[in-house]
Structure formats: C-alpha cells, structure tokens
Symmetry: C2
Subunit: 197 residues, 2 copies
C-alpha cells in the first residue's frame, strides 16, 4: 500500500495517525506541497483533486480525501461508532473540518510556514474564520471528553490534525481550555504518533 | 422532522431531493442566507457551523452538514452502496465537493445572485478554481454513467446540486459534454424534484 504523503500536511497526518493506531503499515511517497507542477503526473487518475493524501491499496485501487481514507480504514474498528446517528455526527464534524476549519486554520499555518502570506488583510480574514471554528469546537467540548459519543474516533483525529498545530498558523490556543484538555486526551491515546513521525 | 432550509441553497437542495426520493416528509423552515444576524439564535446548539441545511429529527436530535445528513438518510437504501470501497469513493466525491467545488462554483453563483461580487479579480479566481473542479468531474465521467459504481447515489446528488446551476454563477457548461449527459441522467431519476420545488 502506498501513501502519497507530505510530512507537514495535517491532512496526511490524519491518515498516518490512524494507520499507526490500527497497526497497518504503508509505504510513504513524499509529494512536494510548495512546487505543485508535478501533481498531474504523480496523482492524475488517482485523485480528482490532485491533493495529498492519496492512497493506493495493495490491489491498485486509489482513494483520495483524508477523511474518506480514514473512514475506509476505520470501518468495523473501534475508531468509528456503529450506531447510525453517531456515525452521521462523525461525518458532520469531518465535513465541518474541511469546510469551516481547514481552509482557515491550515491555510494560515501554511502561509506562515512557507512565507506565502499574501497580505495582512488576507491573514486576518483567515484568523477571524479560524477562530470561529475553534470557538465552535470549544463550545461543543464543554462537558464532553471527545467530539462524538464520549469515545475517541476519527472525528477527533480529523479535528486534532490541524488544531494541535494551530499555533504555527498564529492562533492562540490559550483562550481555549476545553480544546487544550481534549488535545491532551487525543495525544494520550494508545499508539499515538506525532505529526513529525 | 424540521429542515432549516434555504430554497436557493444547493446544499439544502441535496437534502430536499434525497428526502423526496426516499418519500420522507419534513417541515421546512426558511433561513435567510443574506442577513445572517439571527443564525446563532436559530441554529445555535444545533449545528456548530450555523449553516443550512440543519435538520432536527423527530426525537429532537440535530444534525448539520448537507453531506452528513444525506449519508444518515441514505444508509441502508439504494442511494448508498453497500461495498466498503465504493462507500469510501462516495465519501471521496462528497469531500471533493465541499472542498474543491462548492467554495468556487456555489460562491460565484451566490455572489452573482445576490449582487455581492467583491471584485472582478475575486470572481475570476473562483471561476478558475471552479473550472478545475468541473474539469475533474468531466474527466472522471468519461465512460461512466454515474460517479461511483455505475449507479446513482448520494455522490451524484452531492455534485449535481451546484453543478446543474453553475450557469447562474457564470460558468459555461457547453464545454462539458460528459457532465451535461450525466446531469440529464440525474434529472431523469424517479421522484426527482427541481431546486425550485
């Protein structure tokens, strides 16, 4: 199995973390996240969005989108609830992550890490929307240990990936005690690995 | 069951279309998509992103995110495949829709419909990225009848919602024969309803 990967990408980290926790080995192929000129050559026909992570199963079938890849591997394991409504709640948080969190929290981090900030105004807009997402997570976690069903699941992995490195994007997590407690619980899960692994 | 809804929203239309095809009735509550000042009052505690659609089941449990709501209702029906990898492919397309299609194709439409275009440059950027998404769908559909497993599924509903009204966002679908054929097949499904229904 081959994972087209980027070590700094939180989206790729989701897949690496889940596979580590499931004990599933995979070969990693590093894809450049700054120079995207070879994306079509490397990922064409494997992933319609030409993004990483993209995984190619042992039988050659390719799959894209970090949260879809997690769902595929988590199915039938303790990382995905069995109950119908709880599963829909997991998906709610994963779609929230890709629409209302990642485009702001991850993009601000990327701009800062790779010295790509287009303007102070653009960064301020990403910060404002990113803080809205963090506010929503903070409110939801009040009185809860995990995002869905009081149990660690791929919903937590999906939101942990970019939230735990939000500081690298200029976000201040000091104001979020619920999130900080939850980040600690996620990091304390068996077989947890850091994003740098 | 209550659907917090907007008639013009393609995201809400996904839910209305699937529920119509499943024969599940629901009460619709219209939520303003231009004046968002009452969002927290109406949707707070129901949906972390304060977006429509949000659905409240008969037992009071709320669920947000159009694609998560579709998944919940499609489970166990002919609108969602049973096979594990095909289900992951459905999710791949739904995540593609929310990350690589909706922010461009739907937002350009919204700007034009509500006279909110911030600048010609901003609209051109949405068009460029929207066309990338449409190009990816066009390529994928070559030789295929539907997006996943040669069968109509919630993946098709998810991508149909904003693609079939892309012209309202200034996109020209004339260059996409595969997409136009697929839109016709989706619209010909039993119990199909238009976005204006």
């Amino acid at each position: 199995m081959i994972l087209y990967d980027s070590q700094v990408s939180g989206n790729c980290y989701k897949v690496r973390l889940l596979l580590a926790q499931l004990g599933i080995p995979c070969e990693r192929v590093a894809v450049d996240v700054v120079d995207r000129s070879r994306r079509a050559e490397i990922l064409g026909g494997k992933n319609p969005s030409l993004r990483v992570p993209t995984i190619v199963l042992d039988d050659g079938r390719p799959l894209g989108e970090s949260n879809a890849i997690m769902w595929h591997f988590a199915e039938g394991t303790g990382y995905l609830p069995e109950e119908r409504f709880a599963r829909a709640q997991v998906l709610q948080w994963l779609f929230f992550e890709q629409y209302s969190h990642e485009p702001f929290v991850a993009v601000a981090r990327r701009w800062i890490m790779f010295d790509e900030v287009p303007s102070g105004e653009a960064l301020a807009e990403r910060h404002a929307n990113g803080y809205k997402a963090l506010d929503a997570i903070e409110s939801h976690l009040a009185g809860r240990e995990y995002l869905v069903g009081e149990r660690y699941s791929v919903a937590d992995i999906g939101l942990y990936a970019y939230t735990h490195v939000a500081g690298e994007g200029g976000f201040d997590l000091a104001r979020y005690p619920e999130i900080r407690g939850w980040l600690g619980r996620v990091a304390a899960q068996p077989a947890h690995i850091p994003i740098t692994a």
